[in-house]
């Protein structure tokens, strides 16, 4: 386990932002979801030691969040949501300074800065000032400064904010790589559910200060073996009734997408393709139905 939280309560005056949160955060990549005002940011602040919780305790990587908060930051990296950087110095100098501040000797910090900037995709641009960077490059520099000191846990707050599709792709790839192949645990907070789906294996849902659910992505999506999502090229009116004639059922449909229930024991693909041929429909997709993460999320917070 990367973090253990027991009964954590954080309040600002009378406003209770996090109430009685208890969970174990596993290794790998964990998604933190919740509506605005759910308490996600407060939870992160408490975990990183920026806030003293009113009640409860927690440990991250073995460090107590109340007593060892400075030491904790040696092993944890934060990629904040808003635009931030250290001005007046080149990117490599900035990342090296971030490393030095995290306890690395100067030479090691410089070496690491170059390595990490390379990994994050900033080539020659690293010698320029961060002020001259585009949004995508700024985000890369931000994640580089969070990684420079080799943290075991990385917090990413809306990592794809403001990025164009290509840069988003690169960022998500990087997060996936670092959490699955390089052994750096990640906690990603984002409103973009497909991003979370793509990078995370485990999800923590918060709402109104409480942790509502903590499950794996697969669990949340709950693939079933008798429900199938069928995509036709164009919607065909007679498709649902033709399915019923064969013993299947079209449970819901939206434009050219159908959710079909096939009785157990039947070969779903064969049945559906046969029906499609009958009504002259072109089947473009046939997959086991799973809830979209959006549905699962909305259910968890209601």
């Amino acid at each position: 386990m990367v973090a253990n939280i027991r009964n954590l309560t954080v309040a600002y005056g009378r406003n209770v932002a996090v109430s009685g949160a208890t969970c174990d955060i596993p290794e790998g990549c964990v998604g933190l979801l919740g509506p605005n005002g759910a308490g996600k940011t407060t939870l992160i602040k408490a975990l990183l030691g920026f806030l003293k919780p009113n009640e409860g305790e927690g440990t991250i990587l073995g460090y107590d969040i109340r007593s060892a908060s400075l030491e904790l930051r040696l092993h944890v990296g934060l990629m904040p949501e808003s635009d931030c950087h250290i001005p007046g110095i080149s990117a490599v100098e900035y990342v090296a300074l971030a490393g030095e501040l995290s306890g690395l000797p100067r030479a090691n910090a410089m070496q690491r800065a170059h390595e990490v900037l390379e990994y994050c995709g900033l080539g020659e641009a690293r010698y320029r000032f961060v002020e001259t960077y585009s949004t995508g490059m700024k985000q890369k520099a931000k994640i580089a400064q969070a990684l420079v000191h080799g943290p075991q846990l990385l917090f990413l707050d809306e990592p794809t904010n403001g990025l164009d599709p290509e840069s988003r792709e690169e960022m998500l790839e990087l997060i996936r790589d670092i959490s699955h192949n390089k052994g750096v645990n990640c906690i990603v907070s984002s409103h973009l559910l497909p991003d979370i789906e793509r990078t995370c294996d485990w999800i923590l849902v918060m709402s109104q200060g409480k942790i509502r659910s903590q499950r794996s992505v697969a669990d949340m999506k709950g693939a079933s073996d008798s429900l199938w999502d069928v995509e036709l090229k164009e919607p065909v009116e007679s498709f649902p009734s033709a399915l019923e004639a064969k013993g299947a059922k079209a449970l819901s449909y939206f434009s050219n997408l159908y959710r079909v229930e096939v009785p157990h024991g039947e070969r779903a693909a064969m049945l559906i393709l046969a029906v499609a041929r009958e009504v002259g429909a072109e089947v473009r997709g046939l997959r086991p139905a799973s809830r979209s993460l959006e549905e699962a999320f909305l259910e968890a917070i209601s």
């Binding site: 164009d164 409103h191 917070i301």
Partner: protein, 305 residues
């Protein structure tokens, strides 16, 4: 409704948009492009904040620049986050309503209705400076739609909204798109895809593609459609069968031998042939789907080549 005829706009030596010709009609159109592709310039031209250096831009048949009759029928939700921080949400919407030409007798009712519509009625007295990012976004959208414009232009309309808010906004936009012209500029391609199939893609100031995503996808010959096929039996055996089909140009076995990626330049032909061969030979097919028939793939193929 909106027409650009060879419109170009440059700033000194930097080109904003370069020789763009297109027509945008009723319904939702996605405006896509990398950062710096010219989306903001295009939006500024259409909303009348800039004049084209050459060419023409017309909205409702008139030039939009400093044209208040166009402004009354146009709603714009910009990306930049800047307000009169000292005003309350209510006051701000009231001001915007009146600026948009709503008669003062109706302005209060209009503002109230739009507050309710975006779910901000309870927080209407709160000063904008004290509002969260999501709340500010809702107010931004409210001021764009409240005067019932015929054309709605939104730049990253979902930014700052949580998943619940995104869903609400999507529904609102679909509602609008049914009867009006809506242009949505966004980097979040899967959201644009859920709203519309009609897109305009800008690349380095030039118009790279416009129209139905599906049609555009079919025209990208360089990247045949990639279809993932999974089977309960042996993927290799299936591969042998499929490579025999006339519509298949390549087959690739992935992972643990149960997954096959098939490439085809003629998807309609392929799906029909696949169906026939599965039914004829009782092949234990489990699932198949195309992994690059979506907007993200189209964008990637067009922009990166």
């Amino acid at each position: 409704m909106i027409e650009l005829q060879r419109a170009s706009r440059w700033y000194g030596q930097v080109i904003g948009v370069n020789d763009v010709t297109c027509t945008i009609g009723q319904g939702i159109t996605g405006l896509l492009g990398e950062n710096g592709a010219g989306k903001s310039t295009l939006i500024k031209l259409v909303t009348g904040q800039l004049r084209p250096t050459t060419g023409a831009v017309t909205v409702f048949g008139e030039t939009p620049f400093a044209n208040s009759s166009v402004f009354r029928r146009l709603g714009y939700c910009p990306e930049t986050d800047s307000f009169y921080e000292h005003m309350s949400c209510e006051e701000f919407l009231l001001l915007m309503a009146r600026l948009s030409g709503v008669p003062s007798s109706e302005a209060a009712a209009v503002a109230e209705r739009s507050l309710r519509r975006v779910g901000m009625y309870d927080s209407r007295k709160r000063k904008l400076g004290a509002c969260s990012k999501g709340m500010r976004q809702r107010i931004r959208i409210a001021q764009a739609v409240q005067h019932d414009p015929e054309v709605l232009i939104l730049d990253e309309p979902m930014s700052g909204l949580d998943p619940v808010g995104r869903k609400e906004m999507s529904d609102l936009l679909l509602e609008f798109g049914a009867t009006r012209t809506v242009i949505i500029s966004s980097h979040i391609l899967y959201e644009v895809e859920a709203l519309t199939r009609s897109i305009i893609l800008l690349h380095r100031g030039r118009l790279l593609a416009q129209g139905d995503v599906r049609r555009i996808r079919d025209l990208i010959d360089r990247h045949p459609h990639q279809v993932v096929v999974e089977t309960d039996g042996s993927a290799r055996l299936l591969a042998k069968e499929l490579v025999g089909l006339s519509s298949v140009v390549a087959a690739r076995i992935e992972g643990d031998e149960s997954r096959l990626i098939v490439e085809t330049p003629r998807p309609d032909e392929f799906y029909t042939q696949l169906r026939d061969i599965v039914l004829a030979n009782n092949i234990p097919l489990r699932t198949f789907y195309s992994q690059d028939n979506n907007l993200e793939a189209v964008f990637r193929y067009l922009v990166k080549g």
